[in-house]
Symmetry: C2
Subunit: 363 residues, 2 copies
């Protein structure tokens, strides 16, 4: 097989600094483990807007379609708040998701032993937490038409449309059941079937798909109750599958339970390409954190763990992914902390590149 | 003024048992405080379906329009899961909200001192928590058209529509600013203006309304970040205003932070009636809890506190409301607990009516 290709899109805010550490890790794998990647770097979000007047150029979009995997930092910032909706940084990200058809967004919410104290939740509620949220990423109210702000009589009306086809629901459900099979064989599907017809269809289709996975224990939960249960007793869950909008809110809620947002990666996967690899984009769950951008304070771990997910899901290098994840756990166990992880007094935070140094040393 | 009128709709599951305790409290106010109410009782939800084949009869709907306030228990249960969408128990509740035009749903998330240990969050994160969530309740994706499950090609498509007019947003915003003025003058508005046009309009209109409330410090937050911040540091909030769907999920998330779901009331308010009182319905935040229904285990406090909200918001009896709330705090401070509140070993739970007895004694 030819050298696998990566497109790196650092984006805005802390994106470039955390991605710089990922690049060092990628280089390490090339030098020490013979895992070479053909790396291209390009702009996305506000950075692309500043250069090209759009949050994602057609060239970059084409490149993303071509490579084996995309690594994205983060997009957005207050500077771009005034921009028209159609060119906001987020549109670049949404275009990538939509045009690459990355329907399955995998968001692990995992509580790291060394950091359990750092959660706002009681330690026994979150220690050992390991949930995987599968969020549908290419449809629902994010993309449904009609949408917009129209004028009716003498007032404005804001409209968005939630729209799910059976096959859109089915492929997300299959992705979730497959993951559940590799984990603890428990899947909880969340919607509002009590008030939304799209939720009824969601529940129907997920139930249909479950016939092919008799070993997986399927349950259904209303999304509002889901939010409650995540807060009350998150360890009751193994895999959760839900739509684009509920997934946005619930996965952020779940992420914050772990107390270590700067630690959480995500993978967005689509259909297999000609070479058998899925279309894929990997990005940290955290945002662009404009308040600390450029100060070397950001925690690069979420972005590095996103690369670990790429090793596992795109390049079938599960053992190397585990090696990287294990190095990170060791570094944390040694007490190395970026500023966001400083619960204890008396520990001096390392910088973004200091954390990169520590992980490279542990590797 | 003539005797104020109440319509009591106990509903399903634990609804009737918790409402029975409210009726005893209402009687106490009539006998001891000269606050007489003209009380009618009727069916809603599954109970109404069983009797009338619909989750709310036209007679009951008409009665609800006529009275000074409605008190509702809870609706729904597994028995009704098989029913067609149009006659599900929830439709009864939604019809009341819509036809009474109860646009402002007030959901306090308050952590009771005596119960702070019972939260899944660390005590210092939630002790003293006192947030008010104002959820728009008559529009958005709950009611927008078109909606339904259609067939396109050879597959089904589930459709719902989020639709907000400027005036719908404005009246909810005004309700929230008014509350903020009576509280700590901080309002946070939550939407997804980065991906939804209806969110852009929401943000615009809330910002416009803020011009009339220069004393209130207004902030905007994306709803996914809102879920995170509620988990991370809920005490940063005073009043939150958000749409129907985000309000559903975020208010349940906030409710669970307090650790005492069986304690949380809500008020749904509409426009003033001819007598100056707002159209109003009061209900506990908890659901019908079919698993414990009929066993005398349910905590009646949320429903009793909903009546306290009625005293305050419908009948201008703030002092009497405080008297009732204070009695409940005293009972809790004395260690009286229903089964849902049993964090400590060695405490024997009281029954639903036992809690009613204790509150009456404290009054
Ligand atoms: C940046 C934004 C468009 C995005 C979303 O809403 O999906 C983000 O919140 C996320 O969850 O990846
Ligand atoms: C019962 C259901 C229709 C309702 C809702 O979704 O609004 C409930 O969850 C609530 O929050 O009052």
């Amino acid at each position: 097989m030819s050298t696998p290709s990566l497109l790196i899109l650092p984006g805005d805010g802390i994106g470039p600094e955390v991605m710089a550490e990922v690049v060092r890790i990628i280089d390490w794998f090339g030098e020490k483990r013979g895992l070479k990647f053909d790396v291209t770097t390009a702009l996305v979000g506000g950075a692309a807007y500043d250069k090209h007047g759009v949050p994602l150029s057609d060239e970059t979009m084409a490149k993303a379609q071509e490579v084996d995997a995309v690594l994205l930092g983060a997009v957005g910032g207050p500077k771009y708040d005034v921009l028209d909706f159609s060119v906001k940084p987020e549109r670049g990200l949404l275009r990538l998701r939509k045009e690459m058809d990355l329907f399955a967004n995998l968001r692990p919410a995992q509580c790291f032993d060394a950091l359990a104290d750092f959660s706002s939740l009681k330690k026994d509620v979150v220690a050992g937490l390991d949930i995987m949220i599968v969020r549908e990423l290419t449809s629902g109210i994010y993309f449904g038409e009609p949408r917009g702000i129209i004028t009716e009589g003498n007032e404005r009306v804001g409209i968005n449309t939630q729209r799910y086809t059976e096959s859109e629901i089915r492929r997300a459900a299959i992705a979730a059941f497959e993951l559940a099979m590799k984990r603890n064989k428990k899947l909880c599907s969340m919607e509002k079937a009590n008030v939304m017809e799209s939720g009824i269809l969601w529940r129907d289709v997920v139930t249909e798909v479950s016939a092919d996975y008799p070993e997986v224990e399927l349950s259904h939960m209303y999304a509002d109750n889901g939010a409650m249960q995540l807060v009350r007793a998150p360890k009751q869950f193994d895999v959760i599958v839900t739509d684009n909008l509920f997934g946005d809110v619930l996965s952020d809620c779940a992420a914050m339970l772990t107390g270590s947002l700067g630690m959480l990666p995500s993978a967005s996967l689509g259909a297999p390409m000609a070479n058998g690899r899925p279309k894929a984009m990997y990005e940290p769950v955290h945002g662009s954190a404009p308040d600390i951008a450029g100060q070397g304070k950001a925690n690069p771990i979420a972005c590095i763990l996103s690369f670990a997910m790429a090793l596992r899901y795109s390049f079938d290098e599960g053992a190397e992914a585990t090696r990287l994840e294990q190095s990170i756990e060791n570094v944390l166990a040694d007490g190395v902390r970026t500023a966001d992880l400083l619960a204890d007094e008396g520990v001096t935070p390392v910088s973004t590149s200091g954390m990169g140094d520590a992980i490279l040393a542990a590797l």
